[in-house]
Symmetry: C3
Subunit: 436 residues, 3 copies
Amino acid sequence: MKKDLIAVILAGGTGNRFWPMSTDKSLFPFFNKPLIVHSAVSHLPKEVTRVVIITNDMNNAVLSHLTFSVPSITVVQPAARGMADALLSAKTHLQNSSLLIINADDVASASYFDDVIAKGQKEGILGVVPGYRAKHYLPMGYLLTDGKAVTGIAEKPGEGNEPSPYIAMLGHYIADGNLLLEELRQTKSNEDNVYEKALSTLMKRHTFILHPFEGDFASLKYPWHVLDVLHVLLETLPNHRGKNVEIKSNVILEGNVYIEDDVRIFENTKIVGPTYIGKGTIIGNNNIVRESHIGAGCVTGFNTDITRSYVGDDCWFHTNYVGDSVVEEHVSMGSGAVLANLRLDDGTVFSTIHGELISSYSNKLGALIGKFVRIGVNTSIMPGVKIGRGTFIGSGMVIDKDIPDDSYCIQKSSYTIIRNKKTVAGVSRDEFRKKL
Amino acid sequence: MKKDLIAVILAGGTGNRFWPMSTDKSLFPFFNKPLIVHSAVSHLPKEVTRVVIITNDMNNAVLSHLTFSVPSITVVQPAARGMADALLSAKTHLQNSSLLIINADDVASASYFDDVIAKGQKEGILGVVPGYRAKHYLPMGYLLTDGKAVTGIAEKPGEGNEPSPYIAMLGHYIADGNLLLEELRQTKSNEDNVYEKALSTLMKRHTFILHPFEGDFASLKYPWHVLDVLHVLLETLPNHRGKNVEIKSNVILEGNVYIEDDVRIFENTKIVGPTYIGKGTIIGNNNIVRESHIGAGCVTGFNTDITRSYVGDDCWFHTNYVGDSVVEEHVSMGSGAVLANLRLDDGTVFSTIHGELISSYSNKLGALIGKFVRIGVNTSIMPGVKIGRGTFIGSGMVIDKDIPDDSYCIQKSSYTIIRNKKTVAGVSRDEFRKKL
Amino acid sequence: MKKDLIAVILAGGTGNRFWPMSTDKSLFPFFNKPLIVHSAVSHLPKEVTRVVIITNDMNNAVLSHLTFSVPSITVVQPAARGMADALLSAKTHLQNSSLLIINADDVASASYFDDVIAKGQKEGILGVVPGYRAKHYLPMGYLLTDGKAVTGIAEKPGEGNEPSPYIAMLGHYIADGNLLLEELRQTKSNEDNVYEKALSTLMKRHTFILHPFEGDFASLKYPWHVLDVLHVLLETLPNHRGKNVEIKSNVILEGNVYIEDDVRIFENTKIVGPTYIGKGTIIGNNNIVRESHIGAGCVTGFNTDITRSYVGDDCWFHTNYVGDSVVEEHVSMGSGAVLANLRLDDGTVFSTIHGELISSYSNKLGALIGKFVRIGVNTSIMPGVKIGRGTFIGSGMVIDKDIPDDSYCIQKSSYTIIRNKKTVAGVSRDEFRKKL
């Protein structure tokens, strides 16, 4: 007899590497919807009969209000002890069922759960594991596979040692969940890899097959992954004009631009899609906005350039460059402030996470800025720098390292005032006017 | 028998709180005319038979050349000892007349002298006092009134203690000037309030009535009041195109824009009215100018934003932000210099006047810059900062306090030069070009 | 019997005052061709029967590949010992001929070699010396002349002591080269003026006549002379659109703009001629480019202003001001970086060459930047400053003196981080939105 299919959505992680972003990862908003809607809710296969969301203390209140077309519950994972612990926390709800294990922080450019389930429901198969091809090596789990069966997972094999081009994605289908739960209970590890170990063990005894995913895929872990997730989601964005949208003269809209209601776009501005503009946002004169997300209630001011960036709700700009950057909500930047996105040597941008220098695997990365940050005029933030929530930064400064939450960065003026003995040279400004 | 009506125009104040502006307040130019023309000359009621202008040492030479449709004289007030002293200085010229007492530094969005006189010329009334409603508390005199009669003036009652919503404006009508002059002579005070005290005394014995003024009103005292006065005057500005005006393609003119002769406006620029552009001024490419005054002979250069600001004659800009600022004549700003107009905390902007921190009652206030100032490239001037006449400020600086006249602000470079061991990464710029 | 006419092209100078430019002066590229093509190759008179190019160690390899319509050879001058030495180095190739002596570093707005030869080939004349009128005194050789005959050369006579308005140009025609070579051999001098001394001696015995040149003329010696040469060459530039040129909407092209193949120009940009845009270059949105040279493979980014400047190949900009500046190839500037081109006092810009302060004779001069330089965001380079090849300059800095080759300019951040006790004022941003 075919078992019930439960979608288990993992949303219990604490996101402690996600600072300075202070929104829960699964709730991080894209296109005015939390990430979990993009990753799980809107792709739920029709074969699923129940949903179990593993949550944490912080996000449970919100996530318990999510509604699905089938019954759903949330289970709070007592502490963030990894994925195996998450599943075991909910084991009473997962008995005697097939499982589709979904990560709330993972997005893909196309639905693949239906295909995974279709492959998994054939005779004699215990599991289906999707895999995708990254553009460059990533320190993640790579699948051991002949292209059809999956026989194991190699954790962070090191560049050049990848056993296959496929990185393990979640979206696992397990025909008999009891087998998995039992294996999880018996597996011990000092590392956060109990789930992968248990799965590898099962793969030795049972048939797991590969679902090669051909689209783009991203997972939210470090704050700059907001840009990767955004990139994946933007690809799916249709062209759209909301109600009460005002577009002034000589505005150029190129590609798919999703414009919510009550947006106003001023003259001589160009928007290159795929780009999302949130409700009530004002895009000022002579702006350029390219492949970006701009939340609701923002004002970009005169002459701003927002390129390949995520901007949350209620942010204000004025003559800024926001390049390859993540700016959470309620951030303001003074005129001439710049989020630099390229090192002088064009090198890969690194960022410090818990004291460790982590590669962004990109040579174009700007700043990562938490909520309620204010940045003074003509201030420059260096590539990969993170600014904590609630921090104020003065004017004319260069910020080259991370700034904690609720800080105030002050730079003492060091100028000298002397008597001005210079007078303006006899050059007539009329001469200059002739050159105009 | 009806008395002669003399308009007494008070222009004898020294404006010692008006620094760094060095033009006499009554002569401060708006729309190529001194303030006194806007405040008094152009509103002179037909009932007035003579004009007496109380001047000071500095402005008398200019003011004695003002012409009216009726006979006029100037009387130099020996020292700036207040309004009572000003009137008494001219008492021989004011005998046996009715008086309309006008402040040369006050402007209103509509003429009200005619109404004041009409009300005052009824039987049994000694005086008429106009009052206006400010948007917020101001440290000025508030009228004691039942809405019709005025029974006294409460000086700076403190916020919440206002006896009425009406702030005392000048434009007082006094049917019998002798009574006022006599009272002024007898009144003693240690403070600069003899006039108000005398008026209050008269109000106990005679009927004074209120003229509620419903329009906008402003008085020039502190340098940022130039913006208040400008705001009032701009409301009255018609749409106008002078002779020999050149407007290039894709220029957007919105609202009332008064453009004097020989102005040139370059491509992709937007001007939002009410705005005044002085004779021969060049507005460069890709500018935005909003609700501002730009004097004659200016050049705004490429990509400048002038918003809610006053700019005098012969100023040069290039890629600047001039927000909520006052820039007197012959000022030049280098590329990227910014006059910041908003604190990081959005708080009310204060400015120091004679050592005292004075509220501007505004959270949007930029810089206040005297004549012949030069500001280097990428320099930032903080909100409410005043820059004295003839001062030069270097490049890349942040100026956060007032700078005296004729100063030269220098900042020593503090960089270190080491051997460059970095080389440009192997990333092909061709990759970057693909993203363009 | 009429002698053979040999064009001697002097290209052996080392250009040690040309730093930070590292291209040989005669090879410095304008319009994708080395200077020598503009100065000599393309103006070669039909009377010339052979060409002798005096080269140096460095440029001989390239110059030996130049082709002319007549036979040519290169002669390497062993060391840079001046012009007399240059000619004597090649004396075996110059026997028994007439000579047209051309400086590879000199350009003129019109061909004049033909006229010089025509004048020189009349009976009884030994030489023809062209002279031009500069706009202001230059420390060069001035001709002693009655307007027809030239009787001597006064070296750097000092301002006010010029014997005539004519500055000696090269392009000398010598009917009997043997006389010149013999005189050069016999002339001794402790200074680098053997050629001028020898010529002056010959002028006492033989007839030399003046060719007054009425056009513009420039010679490449100091790095800012690139702008003078450019100015002369731009005057000759036709209007041109290459193949596969993409010009987006609302692009304004004014005057002669020479656009090479594969150029793309984005929206809301204005280009004022005479201007040259090299092959494959991308001019971004909302730019202004005026009277400038932009090499091949450049990207100007958003909102850049390039005015009266020379930019070499493969340079990248983004929201920069490049005014009256020379930027050699492979230079990148971060967003908001400015090359300032005007002193606060509008004074003449000086630059230090070998420890000596040299006047540029101009009050508008920006920076002079060698190859492979990278400049950080919001950095300001002061007028007349030279940046050596391969140097990196950090962000938010002010560079007010020359920086050697291969340097890394670092500025230590000096900000303090305190606890932010400020909160955002209760002012509703909704109030601000109303003003938009």
